[in-house]
């Protein structure tokens, strides 16, 4: 009898325990509270938002067209919450047919369908008319067609480039809110988006939360009860906390319950705090030291141009490089390699980010699917650096401790942006390390906008700056390392690096038929080796990403580049 009773209780407990989870009411948990490190918030309209501040809010309101696999960090079918269920690609790789899920609705009950996607596409096509910087993201799209039922979208691209999926992946906004109908098509008053109330009160949402209010210090979102699954947190609070030190302290004290990338100095304290939980990953943020390959007194575009200023292309569709006047110091690859060898990256990482980083061998992050795991970073070797410099003709003939050649001292100015203590520290350490091989460096920290202008003008010797990889991960860095990006005044290949093989490979890797990562990766491995050999940059390190949350949050399961993975299931004590 007793045994039977125990058996029944165990069975009942087994059945009922999960039911308590299922019975969780929408909005029954406490709110997610995150700090905004900026001062204000831009437009909360995904079509016009261009900063991390507004993106932090729109991510909860707009619906992602394509889902991203949290592990590969690349587009994948059947990702919950995204519009696209799966897709097929035409043989020529230029037409994608996306099948959409039919279980998503906006918070006002209207269906989320392909017509919303079409409106979003048209909007980007007319981005200039409402002051959005994202018009270029649809440049490769030729046409978008929607099936009558609204649940199949066919996108025809102008090329078979592997970047087209990124172009197609848009956060979709509710077209009906703007009064758009398919009959209106492109002849919509796009300029009206500038003044549209959706800009500051986006009260229709397709995400887990709906907009409630916004004032000068916070944005409040509440549970979307029409979301396709139960949303447990009662809302999301995005609060302005401009000082990074204070933000970390307020998180530790429990006022904020999640934090994204607190300063490195606070991470150990957070890891050791029993009331907090944390997560580290290799982030897509990396600093680099760019040496100018060309003479800064004679900046010139890196390729042949026609009368209209457009690049003249060879038979392979690649720009034809123009020989540059080389930089008196850095035009020689042996010198650039010597600088890489002279720098102690371990010390730099330890001092600049307290070890919270990963040394980069070339231009791709360790976390990228295209990263070449067999390519080792260049280790410090001061003797080898000195030997290379001597081989290049740089010796200390006058005994003043600074190398010279033909009467010219090896001395240059290293620029970085003021106010960034991490980069300031990197610059000072580079200065110290290079002094050990007889190179004199003057470090200047200048205004960020001024630095960008100098970089664009290509009138610098050396610059320390950083890049943030796109998400989802796309290893295509055309424009940064290819000849067509060497445009004085506006190109991103400001160091004037040019290697026709890199131009060819970068194009080939971005146009592999089928675009399967496993087919593209070997081309990127080759690129990483060439760019390492050429010392296109002096490679520094990737910063580690760091997320933390209060331990009172149950089900917290962040993924790389995704602090809020399945946030709708978080259970936060009220």
């Amino acid at each position: 009898m007793k045994r039977t009773t125990i058996f029944v209780i165990v069975i009942l407990a087994t059945i009922l325990a999960p039911m308590t989870v299922f019975a969780q009411e929408p909005g029954s948990g406490g709110p997610i509270i995150e700090g905004n490190g900026g001062t204000s918030i831009g437009p909360i309209n995904d079509l016009r938002c261009s900063g991390t501040d507004c993106r932090a809010v729109t991510q909860w309101l707009a619906v992602g067209f394509l889902g991203v696999d949290p592990v590969t960090q690349y587009f994948a079918p059947n990702i919950e919450g995204a519009m696209v269920k799966d897709w097929t690609v035409s043989e020529d790789g230029m037409t994608y047919t996306f099948n959409l899920v039919d279980n998503l609705v906006w918070s006002d009950g209207e269906p989320v369908d392909g017509w919303d996607y079409l409106f979003t596409y048209y909007a980007y096509k007319h981005a200039d008319e409402f002051e959005s910087p994202y018009g270029y993201t649809v440049d490769d799209i030729d046409t978008v067609e929607v099936s009558e039922d609204g649940y199949t979208v066919t996108v025809k691209f102008l090329s078979a480039s592997c970047g087209v999926l990124s172009d197609a992946a848009k956060n979709v906004v509710p077209s009906h809110v703007f009064g758009w109908t398919p009959e209106i098509g492109e002849s919509f008053d796009w300029a009206s988006l500038i003044e549209h109330p959706y800009e500051v009160t986006p009260d229709v949402s397709g995400g887990p939360f709906v907009f409630e209010s916004m004032d000068s210090e916070r944005v409040v979102l509440l549970t979307n009860e029409n979301y396709y699954k139960t949303v447990i947190p009662e809302g999301f609070l995005y609060v302005t906390v401009p000082d990074q030190v204070v933000m970390a302290e307020r998180f530790i004290a429990g006022e904020l319950n999640v934090i994204d990338n607190p300063q490195a100095a606070k991470r150990e304290e957070i890891r050791n705090n029993p009331n907090l939980q944390s997560y580290s990953y290799t982030a897509g943020l990396w600093d680099y030291l760019s040496l100018n390959f060309a003479n800064p007194d004679n900046p010139m575009d890196g390729f042949e141009k026609d009368a209209d200023g457009n690049p003249v292309l060879d038979e392979n569709g690649l720009p034809i490089p123009v020989p540059q006047d080389p930089h008196p110091l850095f035009g020689d690859v042996r010198v650039r390699r010597a600088i890489q060898l002279a720098i102690d990256l371990d010390e730099i990482m330890e001092k600049a980010v307290l070890g919270e980083g990963t040394v980069m061998p070339s231009f791709l992050s360790v976390s990228s699917w295209a990263f070449d795991a067999d390519l080792a970073p260049i280790a410090r070797d001061v003797d080898a650096a000195k030997a290379l410099l001597a081989e290049a003709g740089w010796t200390d003939t006058d005994g003043d401790g600074i190398l010279d050649k033909d009467g010219v001292k090896f001395s240059f100015e290293l620029l970085t942006n003021e106010g960034n203590t991490r980069r300031g520290q990197i610059a000072e350490l580079v200065q110290q390390h290079l002094a050990q091989v007889g190179i004199e460096v003057q470090v200047s920290a200048i205004d960020f906008n001024q630095l960008l202008d100098i970089g664009d003008a290509q009138t610098f010797d050396a610059i320390i700056l950083g890049w943030r990889n796109s998400y989802p991960d796309d290893p295509d860095w055309t424009g940064l390392f290819t000849t067509d990006g060497d445009i004085v005044g506006s190109g991103f290949n400001s160091m004037s690096y040019s290697n026709p093989e890199v131009d060819r490979l970068m194009k080939a890797a971005n146009n592999v038929p089928g675009c399967k990562p496993e087919d593209r990766a070997p081309l990127y491995w080759e690129l990483q080796r060439i760019l390492q050999d050429d010392q296109a940059y002096v490679w520094l390190f990737n910063q580690n990403g760091f997320y933390a949350a209060n331990k009172s949050i149950e089900n917290w399961s962040p993924q790389p580049n995704n602090l809020f993975w399945q946030a709708e299931t978080w259970k936060i004590a009220k």
Binding site: S40, G42, G51, Y136, R218, E234, G485, F492
Partner: protein, 355 residues
């Protein structure tokens, strides 16, 4: 008095215009510009980056840019006569080629149109309005705290010259004057917020969905930032008041009042204080614009959503419309502050007549 105020206000117009011209020139002369930062993404085509510079009008000569800020891009017509032709904004295709123009839409300062923030894309006037209240609330409360504590301390220090109270208040005044605001703010947050948990660590309202519900919510959030900002005022005003009171106390009419047998409290707080306050009135005028500029650090540390931090960031980003709006606002407040100072001077000191 009314005529005097009106005359001063009219005189202020060229002053304010002069301030805007100078600010515009200084800002434009600063190296760099916002266009590069707005398009700093390797995926943005080079021609589109160049187009952005042109679209924003940054390639035009400085006087043209200034006049456009003043008069706007829309034409000005009076009785059918075009006084200002405005500007047609170039339109570019997605390859960055100019394909035409469209009429500009900004009204310029003359039509009270401050434009849109280049970075936040929202109307500057809306952003200023949203934040002005918080700055006034913080600055005014700190100023009231400074006056209500600093002035009595100054008077008591003067009448008890050389006493323990006088010496300790002078030491504290020097100390609070010397302590950097950012350090004091962080210490207060650590002690009262993190360790004791007695007061909120920032913002205007509790970090809950409902925000401020009771008056206590608002007041508790004011305590630390007001104290941080107010200590400087207390220190400055107590020292001014002490010196001023000492001057007055040595005058004949005070000795006469004491000789007549008036109680000390009446002599100090009625006869001496009124005259000792005259120099303080000269501080009040400049104090008002400093409410805007002086709160940058306090607002940042305490996440106070005021104008100070917004202005600071606008200058760093070279967000021209925002910077110019803040400069104009500061200019107007400064002029009004000094005018108020003069009026107060006349009210307190019967020897002064405005006219």
């Amino acid at each position: 008095m009314g005529r005097y105020v009106l005359r001063r206000l009219i005189q202020a117009i060229p002053t304010i215009l002069g301030i805007t011209v100078l600010s515009f020139l200084i800002m434009s002369a600063a190296p760099g510009g916002p266009a590069a930062a707005l398009t700093f993404d390797p995926k943005v085509p080079a021609k589109q980056r160049e187009a952005m510079q042109e679209k924003l009008g940054f390639n035009d000569p400085l006087p043209v840019q200034y006049v456009r800020w003043l008069l706007g891009e829309k034409p000005i017509k009076v009785l059918g006569v075009t006084l200002w032709g405005g500007r047609d904004v170039p339109v570019f295709d997605r390859q960055g080629n100019e394909i035409g123009t469209k009429p500009g839409t900004s009204g310029g300062i003359i039509r009270l149109d401050f434009g849109r923030s280049l970075f936040y894309k929202r109307p500057v006037i809306d952003m200023l309005k949203q934040r002005a209240g918080a700055t006034v609330q913080l600055g005014f409360t700190a100023l009231v705290l400074g006056f209500s504590i600093g002035i009595p301390i100054g008077i008591l220090s003067a009448v008890r010259r050389g006493s323990l109270f006088d010496n300790s208040s002078r030491v504290l005044a020097v100390l609070f004057n010397a302590v950097p605001v950012f350090w004091l703010g962080l210490m207060l947050i650590l002690v009262f917020g993190k360790w004791l948990g007695a007061l909120p660590m920032g913002n205007q309202c509790p970090l809950t969905i409902k925000g401020c519900v009771t008056l206590e919510d608002r007041v508790s959030h004011l305590v630390l930032p007001v104290f941080t900002l107010g200590t400087g005022w207390i220190a400055v005003l107590s020292r001014y008041m002490r010196t001023s009171t000492l001057d007055v106390l040595s005058q004949d009419y005070i000795r006469t009042a004491q000789a007549k047998g008036l109680p000390n409290s009446k002599v100090w707080f009625v006869h001496a204080t009124r005259n000792a306050l005259i120099p303080i009135a000269t501080i009040l005028g400049p104090a008002i614009p400093s409410l805007l500029s002086g709160a940058v650090i306090t607002e940042t540390i305490f996440s106070w959503p005021g104008l100070g931090r917004l202005s600071f960031e606008a200058v760093i980003q070279q967000d021209y419309p925002m910077v110019m709006a803040v400069v104009l606002l500061s200019g107007v407040i400064t002029v009004l502050g000094y005018l108020l100072s003069d009026i107060l001077y006349a009210l307190i000191d019967p020897r002064i007549r405005l006219g």
